[in-house]
């Protein structure tokens, strides 16, 4: 009956050596993927609900679209991409969960569809104080030709994520006058294209 069972079950099935080594027939490989995706979808809604209750003490109506970006590694995350497009008046909230039993520092990458610079803050000790963190936005080369991949990738520093715990970050749009003081724009230098392009 657990909402995590379907994922558990799928991972059990994929322990077959064909699943682990990728030596199955093609349609079997698709079946493994389908089972895992089904399990992940179930687990996603359960875990996001739990996180929302645990971290945000929220009642209904706050951060309803909290979701686990399954295709983050393919630079696709509809929630952050939509919220980052020009003209959007939304902030992006990111919950970074650390499953290790030790504190960790990581650079988290977030697919966004805007190269203008956003401002990242981490929710500090008190609910109300947000502390700026280092961030930068780099263009997504999308060498894997993924359809729907984000145009840019925001990287931000997630320090001191607690063991078996999570940190909350907020990404908001920078107003122009703040730009120069907070983050350094990436300087693309293509050694092969003309200087004009570099400008």
């Amino acid at each position: 009956a657990s909402p995590l069972y379907e994922l558990d079950d799928a991972m059990g099935v994929v322990q077959h050596h064909d699943g682990v080594s990728g030596t199955s027939k093609q349609h079997v490989a698709y079946d493994y993927a389908k089972r895992i995706a089904g399990g992940m979808n179930k687990a996603n809604s359960f875990v996001t609900d739990a996180l929302r209750k645990l971290l945000l003490n929220s009642n209904e109506g706050v951060l309803d679209n909290l979701t686990y970006c399954l295709l983050n590694n393919e630079t696709i995350c509809t929630v952050s991409q939509e919220a980052s497009r020009e003209g959007s008046k939304e902030d992006i909230y990111v919950i970074v969960y650390n499953a290790l039993a030790k504190e960790r520092h990581e650079v988290v990458s977030l697919p966004i569809d805007s190269s203008s610079y956003d401002f990242v803050e981490k929710l500090g000790g008190e609910q109300s104080d947000w502390v700026p963190v280092k961030s930068s936005v780099l263009p997504n080369a999308n060498y894997a030709q993924v359809i729907g991949a984000a145009s840019d990738i925001m990287h931000f520093e997630a320090k001191d994520i607690p063991p078996l715990g999570a940190s909350v970050f907020r990404v908001s749009r920078l107003e122009d006058e703040v730009l120069s003081s907070t983050s350094i724009p990436a300087v693309p230098r293509n050694l092969r294209r003309s200087v004009q392009n570099d400008m």
Binding site: Y93, I95, V96, V108, S136, Y143, H155, A186
Partner: protein, 336 residues
């Protein structure tokens, strides 16, 4: 100049600007520099163009792994690329990795990279390189603040299949005097010491070896070589095959595309073919097969002092194998 140098607080990495490959990695904290020759290449897959049904219902074609160099069939046709004979042949395929008889790693021509782009931001630094004819191998070398590894994001494919199949490899050549030894860990818990030619049957050191390459491949989640002065290794993001076929070298198989079934049970080539037929011969109707996928993966390359290979690898395994889980939401600005 003709070099690109990028660094973070722990590492400094030098690239050859014309080829886009890494030429040295320095661990600033340990005061260790390993000069490397980075390359991508492929082994050609061994195959015999026997039609599928012939293979399957003729048991003695299953072969027993013993191979004779070269092969000529009853009609006197030469199959120089094959390792084996009518009685003992074996295709490279899902279960079997078998390069052609030359056992040669074919470098990707041409040597100059198609393009090299550098991104230098206050947080993440990246060097993008596009290799080979057709640019089917691309690489983003990335340095992250506070991390003691160079993150190599490789993007491979679709792998061209004009030569009957490829086993694509990322290879690093250093001057480390590894003395025929390397260490692999495939369960994230315990390194095994590997000695080249261990199987007493395979290995370039064995004069009568027929499988010097595949016979020295082992399952890898992390792999390293070391001597008294340097250690050099890699933590992968998914299980791969890896080896150290000559002293000072490390190689990992990052993609395979084979056109033949190896008759070991799958009944299909490793070609994302969902129509399940095998071409005969492959060259003229390869286009009827699956288009081939583009895969993306990550290698984390680490440099350290001699004897520190295991602890260096072990030190980042947990965070590499258990990435942070990222949950995202949006709300009107200023709400929360």
């Amino acid at each position: 100049g003709d070099e690109i140098v990028m660094s973070n607080d722990i590492l400094s990495v030098t690239f050859d600007q014309s080829t886009g490959v890494i030429t040295s990695i320095t661990n600033l904290r340990d005061g260790i520099t390993v000069n490397v020759e980075q390359q991508y290449g492929f082994y050609k897959s061994a195959f015999k163009d026997a039609p599928m049904n012939f293979v399957e219902d003729n048991d003695n074609f299953k072969g027993d792994g013993k191979c004779l160099p070269g092969y000529t069939d009853a009609e006197g046709d030469e199959y120089p690329w094959l390792v084996g004979s009518a009685e003992n042949w074996q295709n490279s395929g899902a279960y079997i990795f078998r390069p052609t008889i030359d056992q040669k790693l074919h470098n990707l021509p041409p040597k100059r990279a198609q393009s090299v782009v550098v991104y230098n931001s206050g947080l993440v630094k990246e060097v993008h390189s596009v290799f080979g004819q057709g640019g089917w191998i691309k690489q983003i070398a990335r340095l992250l603040p506070g991390k003691d590894f160079v993150e190599i994001e490789y993007i491979v494919g679709p792998v061209p299949i004009d030569d009957g199949g490829k086993e694509v490899v990322s290879k690093w050549t250093t001057s480390i005097a590894s003395d025929g030894q390397f260490f692999t860990d495939s369960n994230g818990r315990e390194f095994q010491k590997r000695k080249r030619g261990d199987h007493n049957v395979f290995g370039p050191d064995q004069p009568n070896s027929d499988e010097p390459v595949s016979g020295n491949y082992y399952p890898v989640n992390s792999i390293f070589i070391e001597d008294t002065v340097h250690s050099f290794g890699c933590v992968v993001d998914r299980s791969q095959g890896g080896a150290s076929l000559t002293d000072g070298t490390l190689e990992l198989m990052i993609q395979r595309r084979t056109l033949y079934d190896d008759a070991r049970g799958v009944g299909e080539p490793l070609n994302e073919t969902d129509i399940g037929i095998t071409p005969n011969p492959p060259y003229d109707n390869a286009e009827r097969l699956g288009e081939g996928v583009i895969v993306k993966g990550h290698h984390r390359m680490i440099v350290g002092k001699g004897g520190s290979g295991a602890s260096k690898m072990r030190g980042i395994m947990d965070s590499v194998f258990s990435q942070p889980h990222v949950f995202v939401a949006s709300a009107p600005s200023g709400t929360a």
